[in-house]
Symmetry: C2
């Protein structure tokens, strides 16, 4: 097994943890934030730039890649890492979230979900088995179970039924993945039959992929606990908490993390899906979460909203028109080292591609540095102090 | 005087020349292609990436910068080099071409041109003096005379009158620039009065800027000759041929270059404005041209048209959907070293920013390498041979 999680340290005053994930594409220090590369690219960035910022792992979206360019094409091109020229770890989601949020015409059945592509209306079917197979074709280091992301708000009855469906699907995902692992193990290296592309080496997938389970349970404390226990019972390489940051109040989200996290095994990584703001990351780390992903730093950057220790900065504002200072004083990112707010504001006003690049570079640097600061604080027993300082600077604005 | 042109070598069989331009921001080997950075950014690229490709000089557009963010703002931010973080030479055009091509409501008078902004309809006036002053504020290394780009087609009468207006304007540009140079020379360093931005050093403009004259004369052999002689008579640091590549046949364009270039002083650089295709560059170099600019490599890249030695490649085509090869075999650019045609095609299909980046990188590398190959061929007395090979490979396709 190439996947491993080592718990290095537990904070004395909070439930914050320091850890290290090992994959065949290298190591990841946790707590970690994973930038989102929806369509096999973290928007506006090259892999080299992500590395320079210190990004150790990215997330990519199964739903989007399945529809375009197709998981078989990516397998034929040597897998997602080679296709997009990223040689560090990748996590792929299961496609479930996108099917439920992007697709109007869908039918949820026990066998899976029938839906129409948001691109061209073509009809498709995703099941637990299919979602795992697609992710195996993509060749990510960590793959996710197919789940139903319970909508918000939802009744208790709907939430419970939805949670149970997610549990049944989780079991099927694991069974399918285990079978695939055994099958691949027998043939050692699974070849690209009929691909015929000489420059690409034979490609092997499932034996080295870690499979994470997903906890659901909506906004009900007891269901969150029940789901955490049921998913743990099935047994996975890591555990995600899904169905949060879907419109609920922040306090409610933190409560749901508190309801689920303590019932997940301490020896495995915990991943809070689709979260969140810098504050969310700090709060969730304190609640025992190790991994995060969110489009916020990249999407906000393209809209001109930049993160700083003192809060968000809307760079398009006329107040920055002739401001010679960097986005954030003392920031070590490429953008802040070389460009003024005035120049960035001009690029956004002129709708230049470089605006998205420089904004994304800054925001991902901010998120990556925040996680590095968090890890450093846990390591040196200063995490609680770090949290206080984090809020103090933000309030001073 | 910080500006200098040194003619290193003349080809034995054609009129091709090898030269070196020296500016306060470094040297430029000619023949050279200048990528276009319309709005103080070469679209999709950072300055570091341009340098990695080997770009030695870029062009920026006075008209666009004057309207947004404004030449006074750029002066207050320390000049265009500092504003856009590019420390190599910059050439700015005069804004004339854009006024004539972008602005519907304009009045051409002897004193200058009244026009409305294409952005917001606001009313503006550009004169020879104003155009030079704006360029001095921007602080480019090479600035251009304000001219009328004669439309195509045009009658002989219109063309002659337009040419004479350009000549009168050229004289006024030179007079104004000389006066400014004397004035600046007296105060040694012209300070940014009232800017108050501490991190920006005092900024000096005109004393070190080279002013180029522009030859017009439409599609008339004798007018081109007359214009070249008249502009040479006034006397400039370099000479441009304007008003070509405006819709005329290629053969006619080459004929016009032949009509003008021999009457320009051999000791000064010659710049063919807004040209062109790789073939145009090769043909114009053979006719004695040293400098070029064109949006073609950057604009085509964003549309998915990529240049190769064997011709243009429309990367969006379905034929490249699962093509594992680079855009061009043997190409040393970042794109070709790391990405397949299949991946590029996917990025273009998904409308990703990285598509524009990787395409632009390849096309600018192609143009820059082409010019380096041309210089090498002139230096080693193989330019004619190079031309033959260039066409042979292109024909084989």
């Amino acid at each position: 097994m190439v996947f491993e999680f080592r718990l290095i340290k537990k904070d004395l005053h909070t439930r914050a943890r320091l850890g290290k994930i090992t994959t065949r594409h290298g190591q990841v220090s946790t707590p970690v934030f994973m930038p989102v590369g929806t369509q096999a690219t973290v928007k506006a960035m090259t892999p080299e730039e992500l590395k320079e910022i210190g990004v150790e792992i990215i997330l990519s979206n199964t739903y989007h890649l399945y529809l375009r360019p197709g998981h078989e094409l990516i397998r034929d091109m040597g897998g997602l890492h080679r296709f997009m020229h990223w040689d560090r770890p990748i996590l792929t989601d299961s496609g479930g979230y996108q099917v439920f949020s992007h697709c109007e015409l869908r039918q949820i059945k026990d066998e899976g979900v029938y839906f129409q592509s948001h691109l061209d209306g073509s009809k498709h079917f995703l099941s637990p088995e299919k979602a795992v197979e697609i992710q195996e074709f993509l060749g990510a280091d960590i793959i996710m179970c197919f789940d139903e992301c319970t909508p918000y708000p939802a009744t208790r009855d709907y939430t419970a039924a939805s949670m149970e469906l997610t549990h049944r699907w989780a079991k099927r995902c694991k069974d399918f993945h285990e079978t695939e692992k055994r099958r691949s193990g027998e043939t050692e290296i699974k070849k690209n039959e009929g691909s015929g592309f000489s420059p690409i080496p034979p490609f092997s997938h499932s034996p080295v992929q870690a499979l994470f389970g997903i906890v659901q349970g909506g906004m009900f404390n007891d269901l969150r606990k029940e789901s955490a226990q049921a998913i743990t019972e099935i047994g996975f390489d890591g555990y995600a908490i899904g169905g949060l940051s879907v419109g609920e109040d922040k306090m409610l989200m933190y409560e749901m993390i508190d309801a689920a996290a303590p019932f997940l095994p301490a020896a495995k990584p915990r991943y809070l899906m689709g979260v969140g703001t810098p504050e969310d990351l700090v709060e969730a780390v304190a609640r025992g979460i190790d991994m995060f992903d969110c489009v916020m730093p990249t999407r906000n950057a393209r809209n001109g909203t930049l993160f700083t220790k003192r809060g968000k900065l809307g760079i398009k504002s006329a107040r920055y028109a002739n401001d010679p200072n960097p986005v954030e004083d003392g920031c070590g990112c490429y953008t802040c080292r070389n460009y003024s707010r005035a120049y960035l504001r001009h690029l956004f006003a002129a709708n230049e591609i470089l605006a998205a690049r420089l904004g994304t570079t800054h925001n991902l640097y901010y998120y990556t540095r925040l996680m590095a600061d968090i890890r450093d604080a846990i390591e040196t027993d200063r995490f609680q102090e770090f949290m206080e300082g984090f809020y103090k600077i933000a309030e001073e604005g």
